[in-house]
């Protein structure tokens, strides 16, 4: 166990924070298993979930998904591809879009919210949810949506989302109201601080020596123009929230506040709309991904600034410059990364862009509409094979059915047997 404690210390930066926190024992176990490179137990557990997904015949199939995702989050603290969480979330939410009974099930709504947070444009997902009536009776939906607006600095929309929620009668209403009030409080406080800041900047010459008060709001005080951002709270909050005032609510209408109005045109049309997505959102937030842009026609603006005509290439010298034989410049620019060598850091292919989850969902809905016309029919239970995060083959499905009715006697119960196996192999 001591080893594991050390392991946890060493891999702090590989542990993704979870909103609901992590269980220490699960974290220990996960890190130990990873350190030992023992994936057998994990795979067996995963397989167990996968088969449960397929063979469940109770009336709450969502439950398996919820447990599976929860397990995956606890077991793969670093997230990433191996955990399959994004795939799982995607499959889980897609699977029950037609199930009316889950639309306002808080577990399902939570899955959607997690899915939204992992996708590149959560707004689209939230709008989709609203259009489909998923979570419209759940306070958590409005809270998550409003937070997303707030993150983008659109306080007005954040507020109107709450108002929508109240209008729809989302439950639990006291939670909704509490978050709504908290938002309003934040907005007010920021407005106040920014106005006092404004005020202080005007007459900060006659202020006293800078002082820091503990556990109190830091204020910019000083003879010098506040060069040091003394009020750290304000600076960071202001930056993160990007507060925008549409109508200054304070009593003093400071003309300098009106600067924010120029963003009005951009942020205004963000009304919830029930339209088809013009540009489908990317599957999930990917690292190192560059937007595809047209490069061929891009010109550097620098040239036009100098008086010279833009397109004239530098005149070629009429003589052949002498070049020392060993001084040949390298044919390739040295900084260029050879993709064959450096495969680890190669850019991700943007090929999946046209296959975003929402688009897939729409396609699926279209397909079910015109299913009668499809000319091909798969003569096997395709839904069962592909319904989980990983695929199954016929034999696996049949094996699970077999194991449900039979027990293989000489084998110990799965848990103890796997445990024995890895203690044996590792020591």
């Amino acid at each position: 166990m001591a080893e594991c404690d050390a392991e946890w210390e060493y891999s702090k930066e590989n542990i993704q924070p979870l909103r609901q926190g992590r269980s220490v024992s699960a974290l220990h176990q996960a890190l130990c298993q990873q350190q030992e490179g023992n994936h057998t137990a994990l795979n067996l557990k995963k397989q167990e979930f996968e088969s449960e997904l397929r063979l469940y015949d109770g009336d709450d199939p969502l439950d398996v998904w919820v447990r599976y995702i929860k397990w995956a989050k606890q077991t793969y603290p670093q997230g990433g591809k191996e955990s399959n969480i994004s795939v799982l979330l995607e499959r889980a939410v897609m699977r029950f879009t037609a199930e009316q009974k889950y639309h306002n099930d808080v577990r399902y709504v939570e899955l959607w919210i997690q899915f939204a947070e992992s996708s590149s444009d959560p707004m689209d997902v939230f709008r989709y949810m609203q259009a489909q009536g998923i979570g419209t009776m759940q306070a958590v939906f409005y809270i998550a949506w409003s937070e997303e607006h707030e993150k983008r600095g659109n306080m007005k929309m954040a507020d109107s989302v709450f108002q929508d929620g109240v209008k729809c009668g989302a439950e639990p209403s006291d939670k909704l109201h509490a978050f709504h009030r908290a938002l309003q409080a934040r907005v007010c406080r920021q407005m106040m601080t920014s106005m006092t800041e404004q005020h202080r900047n005007d007459d900060d010459e006659d202020d006293e020596e800078p002082q820091r008060a503990s556990l109190a709001e830091l204020k910019a005080k000083g003879k010098k123009k506040a060069t040091v951002p003394i009020n750290r709270v304000k600076a960071s909050v202001g930056y993160a929230r990007g507060l925008q005032f549409k109508q200054p609510l304070g009593p003093k209408q400071n003309s300098r506040l009106m600067i924010f109005d120029e963003n009005k045109a951009e942020s205004e049309p963000q009304e919830p709309r029930f339209e088809v997505w013009t540009a489908p959102p990317a599957a999930r937030a990917k690292e190192n991904q560059q937007k595809v842009e047209k490069w061929s026609n891009v010109k550097l603006p620098l040239k036009s600034r100098s008086g010279l005509s833009v397109a004239v290439p530098p005149p070629k010298p009429s003589f052949q410059p002498f070049v020392e034989e060993d001084d040949q410049p390298p044919a390739v620019t040295p900084c260029k990364i050879n993709p064959a060598v450096n495969s680890v850091l190669s850019a991700r292919k943007p090929s999946r862009l046209e296959q975003t989850p929402l688009k897939k969902l729409q396609e699926k809905q279209m397909q079910t509409l015109e299913d009668g016309e499809s000319r091909e029919q798969s003569m096997y239970c395709r839904d069962l094979l592909y319904s989980g995060a990983t695929e199954f083959c016929f034999e696996e499905l049949r094996a699970q059915r077999y194991l449900q009715t039979h027990t293989i006697h000489n084998l110990k119960t799965p848990h103890t047997s796997t445990h024995c196996l890895h203690t044996n192999t590792d020591k």
Binding site: T40, N43, E376, Q377, Y380, C393, E396, A399, Y402
Partner: protein
């Protein structure tokens, strides 16, 4: 021929050149494999937990041994030793002279495939525990465990190379003489789950079949020139009322002499293909149920056909499982010279 005579005696003749094996398994057939030395002996593994040895020429069962759970695959290492593995995750070898079982080792999950590589004299098992293990048939003992990226669904041996097909449509080519690294990592050229991979007897490539009525012919040589020759085609599809029913292609077996191959699908048909001229050589009559496994005998004179429902459409009632032994002619298996 004595086989035919015996078949006539037991009254299971299903055609002039074909008979049904007597004393067949009690549950679905998972694999049929002919002996490497003669076309007389056939191993049949089954979901009833048994592995049976048949004398195809006398149409009788010679021997039978039992696993604790359904058996998913079996193989000969030499004419007197059978190997098998299945849901109990145990690899068993059976001495066919003394009728003695030995449990050689275990995987962490059910064993899906068992193959023997005569060139390297090693037995290979692939399992849903995402590993391939090698076994020395002489001692017999484990000779190494090699992790695969996904659950192993099928594998085949081409000379000293091992071709592994896993879930997630991955194909890995290993060198059995140097298992330190994966020689080639490929993706199946077919869009859906890999059902079966079998290597050409000439060791230059392999044939891969998918769950969705398609077969691909691929080459091992990674050079562009050779890779250009690879191709895929649709098969095992039936048109019914204007709807094309697409069946899984479950089984492939190569004719060792002509390098042609037979495919069997869940539609109950067996087709024989000429991969060089890209032609179908023949199609046999429709068998009562899905074709689960196929095996040409070493000399290429017989084809064992396991017609057995694989629960592709769930656990429903289905025609009886059976193994057919069919005599094949050169006209059916030899490429037509043009």
């Amino acid at each position: 021929m004595s086989g035919r005579a015996a078949a006539e005696n037991s009254g299971t003749m299903t055609g002039a050149n074909e008979f049904k094996l007597a004393q067949g398994p009690e549950d679905s057939v998972s694999a049929v494999k002919f002996s490497p030395s003669s076309s007389q002996f056939l191993l049949v593994s089954s979901w009833d937990g048994s592995v049976r040895l048949y004398d195809a020429s006398a149409n009788s069962m010679r021997m039978k041994y039992q696993h604790l759970a359904p058996v998913l695959d079996c193989a000969f290492s030499d004419p007197t030793h059978a190997w098998s593995g299945g849901l109990d995750s145990q690899l068993k070898t059976h001495d066919l002279n003394t009728d003695q079982d030995t449990i050689v080792g275990t995987h962490d999950a059910p064993i899906r495939c068992v193959e023997f590589c005569p060139e390297v004299n090693v037995l290979v098992t692939g399992s849903w525990d995402q590993s391939v293990r090698l076994w020395d048939p002489r001692t017999p003992c484990n000779a190494g465990t090699f992790t695969q990226p996904e659950k192993v669904y099928t594998l085949s041996v081409a000379g000293d190379r091992l071709i592994v097909g896993t879930a997630g449509r991955r194909v890995l080519v290993w060198d059995l003489r140097n298992m330190g690294y994966v020689q080639q990592r490929r993706e199946s050229s077919l869009k859906y789950q890999t059902r079966c991979i079998r290597a050409f007897p000439n060791k230059q490539g392999y044939v891969l079949s998918s769950i969705e009525g398609r077969v691909a012919v691929e080459y091992l040589d990674p050079s562009l020139e050779v890779q250009k020759k690879k191709y895929a085609f649709k098969c095992h599809r039936l048109k019914e009322n204007g709807i094309e029913q697409v069946h899984p292609v479950n089984a492939i077996s190569f004719h060792s002499v002509h390098n042609t191959f037979a495919t069997g699908g869940s539609d109950g048909f067996v087709n024989i293909w000429d991969p060089f001229n890209k032609k179908r050589l023949c199609q046999f009559h429709r068998y009562p149920s899905s074709i689960a496994s196929l095996s040409f005998s070493t000399d290429g004179s017989l084809l064992a056909i396991a017609s057995s429902y694989m629960q592709e459409l769930g656990d429903v009632s289905h025609p009886a499982d059976a193994v057919f032994i069919r005599q094949v002619t050169d006209a059916e298996t030899k490429p037509k010279s043009t």
